[in-house]
């Protein structure tokens, strides 16, 4: 039996070489891919929690995320063979006219850590591009970021474009410094999250509904 607890620990400490080695060993030993994935996600959840409690900084969290990313690259083919589908495919981007992306990148990273399949469209993304990406990737979760008061209205434009399609079960989560729950309600977004850590909880909650 491969030691999946140790894998959790290596993800937590961001030890890339040991995390990848152990993932391979676990696969070779016939562990169920889903079980290996769960061990990694538990590790990332702890990392996210530590970050939330101000015990670690973002660079340390990113090191864990990198270890997970590399271990995932080894695990993925086996996972796919078992018919595994990620919990959700998410499309995320900063809306048109806006170039602020540090916050968005953190949300994207946290979602990946929660084993969502994340398609990051970058910055200055027009509404059509969001809609096209939702279609192309069958996304069920959309994340919109805006940091400028003058690009907040572009969120409305994206919402209108999404609602004009007959997507089933597509949930939209918005965020950024000037954004509030009120604003989310006003433009018909499904939820607002104030920071990257709560963006994971909010997304899980939305997807569960």
């Amino acid at each position: 039996m491969a030691n999946l607890n140790a894998l959790t620990e290596f993800i937590k400490s961001g030890n890339r070489s040991k995390a990848t080695k152990l993932t391979q060993e676990a696969l070779d030993a016939g562990e169920v891919p889903q079980g290996i994935l769960d061990a990694m996600v538990v590790g990332m959840d702890v990392v996210g929690e530590r970050f939330k409690c101000n015990e670690i900084f973002v660079p340390e969290m990113l090191i864990a995320a990198r270890a997970m990313k590399e271990a995932m690259a080894i695990l993925e083919p086996a996972l796919v063979k078992t018919g595994y589908k990620p919990i959700a495919t998410a499309v995320i981007g900063t809306v048109q006219g806006d170039l602020h992306d540090i916050g968005k990148n953190l949300v994207s990273m946290m979602w990946k850590g929660a084993s969502f399949n994340v398609v990051d469209l970058g910055v200055n993304v027009p509404a059509e591009k969001f809609v096209a990406a939702i279609k192309e990737h069958n996304a069920t979760l959309v994340g919109l970021s805006a940091l400028l008061t003058t690009t907040m209205p572009a969120m409305q434009t994206v919402m209108d474009a999404i609602r004009a399609e007959d997507f089933v079960g597509v949930k939209v989560l918005i965020g950024g410094a000037p954004i509030t729950q009120n604003y989310a309600d006003q433009i018909g977004a499904d939820a607002f999250a104030a920071d990257a850590a709560s963006a994971v909880d909010a997304a899980r909650k939305l997807l569960a509904n």
Partner: protein
């Protein structure tokens, strides 16, 4: 033509004070920057709304309301003068006609306030740097570059007396360096890419200023140092990391003055006191009155060496006291009154107030500590002791780390346990970096995914 500073304009920390700069200058309405008075510098921005052809009337109405409100209050409070900063939003630089509509509204209102109330004022024009609207950023040509130069040129012709920008050269790699806690990446972004872009950009801005008989004021490493500060404030990166980044930003911002800028350096450049020590030019600063835009750990200390005192930016929303920009104007004026009373009393009183500003913040955060006037002189000295931005950046980084280590050891600065190991990590990183910046540049080019930045836009060959 560019100057390379090899000595300090202010080498005695007791001379690095608010209201006095060794190289003051006079604006058209008689305001002397760095000449014994601190002036308020007001900046304001739009509430949530779209900027497009169809909304420009509304946009103009907002700006008219904001400028009229702030100038009226400044006149009522008998401010000796006001600096108005117009920092554009992206569409206003992309469409210089829109930007100019607002410039004219501001200048007309300033003219009227002078005619009616005798209020002296001047306009600082800060087109925003749109060059990264395309990815990878195109730094030296293209519609964004053209639009920005056009707006500089036309606003200077119309009457803007100070030209500034928050330039972004090097930021496309620096953002990741910040979130990864990567000191080598930060130094590369600031002193190799950043400094090269600054030289190119500021040579153009200085030329425009000369053509119109106005002043090339200065830049700020906002997208670097303040991004770090905001991230540290949100507990995302260590404060000591942000403090060292701040010291290194001075190397990048200095290039504007080497190219011929004369101050005041832009408000959000918290590194400005270091530059005041080197150049002797007046500087704008912001602190507690800028929390309407972002938080900082040095609300009082930031005022220690300022020549204009700013609010960074505030949205036009209604508060109980009145509109937010007017409220902000009043706060700035009261802060300036206090500093100006001290200036009127004499050098001893100035020093006393300055030291109170410093003592109220310096022991609580490394980012504040590093900007104590004595530390600024030390950092300035480190910068001018080296020949190139890259060597200066590494040296000032190490100097900053030493200052923090020492301050922690003698208990004049409190650092938390989880911050401390970062001092050693940063030291090791800086010491292990190649001595030759070209070697580093080739390493970075080889290991960065293509499409992140264009080496040729920085005069680098791969």
């Amino acid at each position: 033509m560019s100057t390379h500073y090899t000595s300090l304009a202010i080498d005695d920390p007791t001379k690095l004070v608010f209201g006095h700069a060794p190289n003051p200058f006079t604006l058209r309405r008689g305001m002397v920057l760095g000449g014994g008075l601190v002036y308020p510098e007001i900046n304001f921005t739009l509430p949530p709304m779209l900027i497009e052809a169809g909304t420009m009337n509304k946009v103009c109405t907002e700006y008219r309301q904001m400028i009229t409100g702030v100038l009226k209050r400044a006149a009522e409070l008998e401010s000796p003068g006001v600096l108005v900063e117009f920092e554009t939003l992206p569409p206003m630089t992309e469409h210089p006609d829109w930007g100019m509509q607002i410039v004219n509204i501001l200048l007309d209102a300033m003219e009227e306030a002078h005619a009616k109330d005798g209020l002296a004022s001047a306009l600082r024009m800060t087109p925003n740097d749109n060059r990264e609207m395309v990815r990878p950023p195109q730094m030296r040509s293209g519609i964004y570059w053209e639009g920005m130069l056009e707006l500089f040129d036309r606003s200077a012709a119309a009457g803007a007396e100070l030209l500034s920008i928050e330039s972004v050269g090097g930021k496309e790699l620096h953002d990741d360096a910040l979130t990864m806690g990567d000191m080598q990446g930060s130094i590369f972004g600031l002193s190799v890419l950043g400094a090269r872009d600054m030289k190119f950009l500021w040579t153009h801005i200085v030329e425009i200023a000369k053509r119109h008989g106005v002043h090339a004021a200065g830049d700020t490493a906002c997208g670097f140092g303040n991004t770090a500060m905001v991230l540290a404030e949100q507990k995302m990166i260590p404060r000591v990391f942000a403090a060292v980044v701040r010291a290194v930003t001075a190397v990048r911002s200095l290039v504007a003055y080497e190219c011929g800028a004369v101050g005041p350096g832009k408000d959000c450049g918290y590194e400005n006191p270091i530059l005041k020590a080197i150049t002797g030019f007046p500087m704008s600063m912001e602190g507690k009155c800028a929390s309407c835009a972002h938080f900082s750990p040095m609300g009082n200390l930031a005022a220690a060496c300022c020549d204009t005192w700013s609010n960074e930016s505030i949205q036009n929303v209604k508060l109980l006291g009145g509109m937010a920009p007017t409220m902000s104007m009043e706060q700035l004026i009261y802060d300036c009154r206090l500093m100006n009373v001290a200036l009127g009393e004499g050098p001893k009183e100035v020093l006393k107030l300055r030291d109170w500003f410093v003592a109220s913040d310096d022991s609580l955060d490394p980012q504040a500590y590093i900007l104590r006037p004595d530390c600024c002189v030390q950092l300035a000295q480190a910068i001018i002791s080296k020949d190139t931005p890259y060597t200066a950046a590494r040296h000032v980084g190490l100097t900053a780390i030493d200052i923090l280590r020492q301050a922690h050891a003698d208990k004049s600065l409190k650092l938390s346990d989880r911050e401390l190991p970062w001092l050693d990590t940063m030291t090791d990183t800086i010491q292990e970096m190649p001595d030759d910046e070209n070697v580093l540049a080739q390493q970075v080019i080889a290991t960065t995914e293509p499409g992140r930045f264009l080496p040729a836009e920085y005069g680098l060959t791969s």
